[in-house]
Every structure is written in structure tokens, then in C-alpha cells.
Subunit: 512 residues, 2 copies
Amino acid sequence: MAPTSTALNTSSSTESTSSTHSIEHLISDRAKNRSFKHFAANADENAPKNFKPHPKPLALSFGRPNAQFFPVKKITVELDHYPFQDTIFENEVIEEQDLVVIDKFPTDKNDLGAGEALQYGDVSGLPNFQKFLREFVETIHKPANSEWAITATNGSGEGLNKVADALINPGDIVLFEEFTFSPFGNNVRNVGGITVPIKLNFKATEGADIDIKYLSHLLDNWNDIYPEYKDRKPKAFYTIPTCQNPTGLTQSTATRKAIYDLASKHDFIILEDDPYGYLTLPPFQKPNKETLVSENSLQIDDYLENHLPKSYLQFDTEGRVIRIETFSKVFAPGLRLGFLVANKKIVEVVKKYSSIVTRAPSGPSQLILLNVIQQRFGGIKGWLQWILRMRLAYAHRRNVLIDSIVSSSAYEKEYIKVISCDAGMFASLLVNFPEGTTDIVDKINLLNYKFLEKGVTVVLGHKMSVNPEFSEPNANFLRLSYAPLDKDEELTEAGKRLGEAVEEFFENGFTY
Amino acid sequence: MAPTSTALNTSSSTESTSSTHSIEHLISDRAKNRSFKHFAANADENAPKNFKPHPKPLALSFGRPNAQFFPVKKITVELDHYPFQDTIFENEVIEEQDLVVIDKFPTDKNDLGAGEALQYGDVSGLPNFQKFLREFVETIHKPANSEWAITATNGSGEGLNKVADALINPGDIVLFEEFTFSPFGNNVRNVGGITVPIKLNFKATEGADIDIKYLSHLLDNWNDIYPEYKDRKPKAFYTIPTCQNPTGLTQSTATRKAIYDLASKHDFIILEDDPYGYLTLPPFQKPNKETLVSENSLQIDDYLENHLPKSYLQFDTEGRVIRIETFSKVFAPGLRLGFLVANKKIVEVVKKYSSIVTRAPSGPSQLILLNVIQQRFGGIKGWLQWILRMRLAYAHRRNVLIDSIVSSSAYEKEYIKVISCDAGMFASLLVNFPEGTTDIVDKINLLNYKFLEKGVTVVLGHKMSVNPEFSEPNANFLRLSYAPLDKDEELTEAGKRLGEAVEEFFENGFTY
């Protein structure tokens, strides 16, 4: 299971071309050995020599109902111009109607109609949807390796499970940022994999960062540091490089390059999970809707060039990056729609898995998403424009919440510190226990009951740790989401309750 | 892995009550040992004694975007009154408009709105959808065991995979009808299970049937018949009891009861897959649209009482039946929406699997389906009324195809026989090779190239066999679907091409 080192030490990753590396040895045996063939497929390999197939055969084969059996004639979707049209953007009235009309059988063959979306479809997504995804990735992320392919998923969580199946043999190791979207650990364990955390470098004023020296040392000295995993170096590193969940960390371009070089040297896959990376926010300021809306001038090209962090795909000369995206955070989670970009060989085995296990994503979800993006937003750039409006709405909500927190006496007394609040929908706070405080996890669990008593729910950072023992020294942080609440007043009140809870807890000697 | 016999031999299945049997030993170790807990869930078990939770906590916990971030304001669905409104039911004009209007936030809290459907939802389905499914099952299938539960799936294929995960340990045996929806074999093998076919009793004039004596003998003498699977008696029997795919078999009530008693005696689970069981058809007659439409008088109560075959759930006193349904065939496959009914213990482990692996089904799919059924069809009975209209459309299409086939000289010369055509969307034919013909599989494969040359695609029965060697004696049948083609004329032409291909093949000495 140890990587073969021959190909790895002879060429540097940035010089190599896409064809010199193979990643097939990193695919799981399970995925490699799976086969799928539909019973209604007709093979040609054993055809008689004089066989001439009819150009237009009539199908009595598939158990696929004719679209005329689907009761739907037409679907119309009425849309908003702004997220929080009625609240944050209440004064931004646009007169034109926003109607997206979707016929069962559109006259323009390039359109995705309801008849097609309601039919059985490709496990990788309907043809128009796949086309959109390819253009999206080409326009925005420009993969360095030409051997990439794409497949739709039923959202990121489900996409991550597909990746776990594709890569992990029982006993294989996956590296995780010590605090992370921990549910992916379930997927890794579900196929017999082992999760190993790597340290984050927490800085009370600058957020968290990945310590490249630490990671490099770990990989160079794997057998000494993890004798129990001797000769089983990590097969993959799972990272959320932008707006890391829950720490808020956004990796610099230099960090990404350095990590990619380590992946190349030590032959592992980078799993880039990026659910809300498009929503990097401007810095915190006192809430002011008018100022914010007037800032609605960021141009798409400027945004793509100067604001959006670079995907690992842009450094991926060797085809060892898997990027996992979702429409959950930028459109709606209920769609259960996302996609992944990876080396063709990996996408091939993922498709086989989908054919057998999950089947295709929902047609109505693809139908609504694609028609809204194309008819209402006019394609990729218009869609990004909507995301930027959403970014402003998140910035405002963040401003309201953080303003409430920094106005609290708990904050003034330095019981809490804001360590990050420029991530998509999360801010993270440190609970600033006096030096030498012991039993941090117990204390923060107790504090949580104070939160629940005061009437505010948060996520305790340590609940998102890969290994609670390993991460105990950094267990004193909280993740706050400004995504779910309905109103500004609720965000303000939630911040106030949080401050009061902390203050009481500190001033009661850390007892409930 | 052998069943514990204590509880089984002391009570007959039909006398036992729902609480006397446990099926937990039939759940896979994998499923039993899986745990799932969300990092944002707050536990109460370790709360301080004086803990008083706030009655209305404000959520800063979940990464769940507020519904105001979803651009959708309203969805309108325009509907047909009849399937094939423009063709089969062209003269059945109904003046009223069929508009289903779905608001983002409906004023009636009982309605499912777009805002809720676009949000993260329960892996078992949105509350309203689950409620509908429970009522549907109670009204139509009346489970004998009160300990049943329901969970939504992403269609039957995906539901079947969930069942395979829930039950099968590596090395476990699942019995299959020898010809079947063979893709489920992939799911069984995917978790290390073994598929074992059971003989169908083929009768050239009456279709196929399950031979209870054969099955009973097999189970009583398992270790002798399958020494390689000694002491590993089957854990489950996978059956499509109504409109069996591909044979067209519909089990009689007596057969179902007898099979259930065997399941009880030999302690296995019955997996009842029923994708188009609602579409049992009236007998073949010469196509005549007017007559057919005038037959549109079957009342729902009559249909439920006298036409719809009984689900195994009605005999399931012990909670050992899993019923798998889908909306693919009766609404639209692109929804990727179905459900399964099973013992609560099984549904519990399925939910854990869903939470980790597949996540929830699509919100827009649930939204459209449920609102159409409730707003347009007025609930379960109106929905069944639509299914009966669909049944008429299938009956007509079946009449057109079969009429074309029985009018062919191949049929007149008895080269082909229709063995079943009252199944939902499939007819099955026997290719009537002369007695003593050898190499049936090779010959039928060769005949298939004749079909492709003439321009008609069919499914060769043997491609749907669980074990081709085992089923070679019955390899001479074809499955024909009258579901996908667009027009009556195409069905007629397809039947004609099929007849011509068979005739040429027979009269050329079974050579291409």
C-alpha cells in the first residue's frame, strides 16, 4: 500500500506534463474490480461479419416510460432579483418580471425541457447539465491537467462518499485538517479507511493556518511518527482550502503550491472540498445596508482574477486533485446537486459506482438549476453576479452578528476573541480561558449549556475534531453561522445572548 | 449465519403476533455497527442538574442557508388530464386549467412550500412527504405487522441498494427468481453477498410461475443441494411478485401465502420489489381507442379490492417483508424518488446509511410530486385514478404491439408464442425452437443481430438471468417493452420488424 517511489522522485511536479503520471495505483481495489453492464445494452463485439445495423431501430428494449406518461406539461419558476429581497435589499426594486418558463419539449433543442429531465438520465448528469459544468470549470478553475472529467453528484456529502469509495482500501490512511467537516470521516471509515489529523497553526489574531513544515516533517518521517501505520503513507489529504469549516482558514496561494508539491513528492491525492469558497467576504465593518449595496460594483473579471482563491486544479499537472463542489450553499441544499472534477480514471470508477449504487441525480433539480442559471442569469457570468449579491447579503449578516458580539462586555473583557469572520457563512471565536486552565473540553461543554439556557445554539469546535485527544489544546473555539436566522434583529439578539452566557460563565468561576 | 431455530419452529407465522419475532439477527454487522451523530446536535444526557433550556433558542449552529438565499419565489406546474392526451386520449377534452401553484412559503402550514423543499431535509423524506407515504401504505397495503416504518429513497434501484447494505454480510445468500431485474445482483455482490437463482416454472401458454414445491425442497435440503454454502441458508428472497420483470409473472395470493410461510419457517426476509404492480392490465384485445376509453369506469374501491394483487405486507405478521416502491414508472423516472416499507429496526439502520452515504432525496422532486398529487389529484384516490388512466394507455399500446405480432407470419407459423402480456409495460415471447435444438443462447444471440438489422431492439431474456448456465433451458424468451416508443405506428412497425426477423432466421436454418 506504500506508494511506489520510482516516478515520484525523478521529476518535480511543476515540470511534469499530464501524461507522465499515473494515478491508477491510488484507486481502491473495490472500485477497480467493479463492473457494470446494462442488460438492455447491445454489444457489437460478437456480431456476424455481414451484420448491418438498422440506422433507426425502434426500441422495445428499455423499461423507460414515454415522456407522454409524465403528467407535467410545463413548469414555471418565478424568481427574486436579490437574496433577502424583502429585507436587506428591500429598496432595490427591479420592475421586470423574473419568470423562467420550462416547456416539456422546448423548440430549441439546446434547452433542457421537463420531458427530458423527468426521464431516466445519465448518472453523471443530463447532457446539458454536464456541458454547463464543464464550461463552468473551464471558465473559473482552468485545470492544469487536460485529462480531467466531471460528474454530477447528489451534493457534496454524497460526492465525498463517492470519492471515499473510489480511493480507499481497508487500512488506507486519509489526512484531515484536525478540525474539519467531520462527517467525511464517516465515509472514510465506512469503507475501512483510517483518519489521521494534522495540526493547524492557531493564531489568536490571524485565524488558523496549515503548518507546511509540520506536514512535510510528518510525511518525511511517517514510519517513525506513526509506527502503527508503518509503510502505509497517506493516500489522500482532505482539505477545505477556502473558508475552512469550522476554522475560517483560507489557504494562501503559496500554501496551496507547497501542499501540492508535498502531494507530488509523497504520492497522495488532494481532496479539495469547496462548498462556499465563492463567498469569501469583504472585511468586517459596522452594519450599513446602504454602503453595502453601493459596493455592489465588483466586476466578475475582477472577482475571478483578484478575489477568488485559486483552486488546486490550477496546480494539478499530475491529475491528483479531486475538487468537490455543491450547489447547496449558493443555490439551495434541497436540490441535492453538486459535482466533482477529477482525473478521468477516477471519474470512470465513480460513474460505475453511481450506476450501481446511487443512480442519477434528480432531474427536476437539474432542470430548475440549469434553467434558472441559463434563462434568468444568462449563463455562468450572470450566475456569478447572483453569487456576488449573495456575498453582500452574507457580509451584511456577518456585520450584524459580529457587531453585536464585539459590543458585548464579554468581548470588552477579552473573554472571547474573533479569530475569523471572512469565511462564507461562519465566524469562529476563541473562548479565552486564563492561561493554565485545565479541562478545556469539559468547561466548553458546560459553557454550551449556558448558551442553551440563554437561547443560542453554536457548534463547539471540538465536536468537529477528527481526534478529540489530538486536538484538545485547540478545543476552545466556537463556530458561529450567520446563515440560518431570519432577521437582523435575531442575529443581534443571538450575539447578545452569547456574550451574556460567556460573561456569566467566566464570572461564576467557569461553573454552570 | 444459520438461522436460530428456537423461535421459528414453535409458532406458525400466521398465528404469531408482531411482537414475538425479532429480525435483528438478519441485519448486517456493517449496518448494525454504523453510528451517526451530527456535530451540531446538542446532547442533554450530561446536562448540569439545574439546566433549563431556553424555549426559543436562536440558531448560530447549522450551516443551513436561510431560505431567503434561494432565488426561487414560486413554482407553477401545468399538467395534463390524460397520459398521451394528444394521441390516445385526443378526444377527451377537459376545459378546466390544470395549474399547480407552489409558493415559497404557503399560508397553509399543511402545504409543502418551495422554501422548505429547497432546504436541507430529513433523509427519510420531508415531513409532508413521509406523511403521504404512510397514508398511502396504510390505505392500499395495510401491513399486518404494526411495527413498520417507511423511508423515502432515490428510486427503487437506490432503495434496493439500501436494503442490500442493511441485510447482507459477506458470504450471505440471497435467492432470486432465475430471470429478474438483474442489476440488484450488483448491489448484493457489492456488499459481498452471493446470488442464488431459483427455478421458474415456464409454461408456454400460461406464462411463468414460482414452483413452491421446488422452493420448499430447496430450503429443506439446502446443505445437500448447495454443499458449498453449507449452513448458510438464504437470508433473503428477492421477488417481483406482480408483473415480474422480465417474465410477466404475477403470483397468486396462494403462492404469496405459501412463500411467506416458507420465509417464516426458514427465517428469511422477503424483498418485495413492486415498480409497476399498479399497472396490471385487462386482457389483450384488438386495439380500439374508443372502447378502451369507454372502459374508463373502474372504480378505485373495486380496483383496490378486486384488481390490485395483495402485497406481502398483508401477510407479514412477523415483520420480515421489505416492500420497495418507486414513482419512476407511475409518475416519472427522473424524479429519482421512491420509498421502502420495512420493520422499524431495518428502517433505523437504513436511515443511518442514508445520513452517511446518500443523504436526502431531492427536494424539488418531492415538491413537484407531492403538490401534483395533492393539488391536482386531490390525494391518494385521485392519484390512483390517474394511474388507472395510465393503465388504459398502456393497455392500448400493448394491444397495438401484440396485434402487430400476432398478425405476423412468424406467429402464424408458430415460430413465436406470446407467454405474457398483462404485465405493466412488458410482454414476453417465447422463440419456439424445434424440439432438440441445441445452443439456444448462441442462436438467440444471433437472432438478436437480425433484430438489430431489421431495426428493432428487444431484451434477450437470458441477459436478465442470475446464472446463465442455470437458466439455459429457459433462454429462449424475449422481453418487449411497449413503454418507450412515441406512436402507435411505431409499435406496429416494431412488431412487424420483429416478426420478419424471426421468420427469416427460422427459414434460413437459424443462421444470420
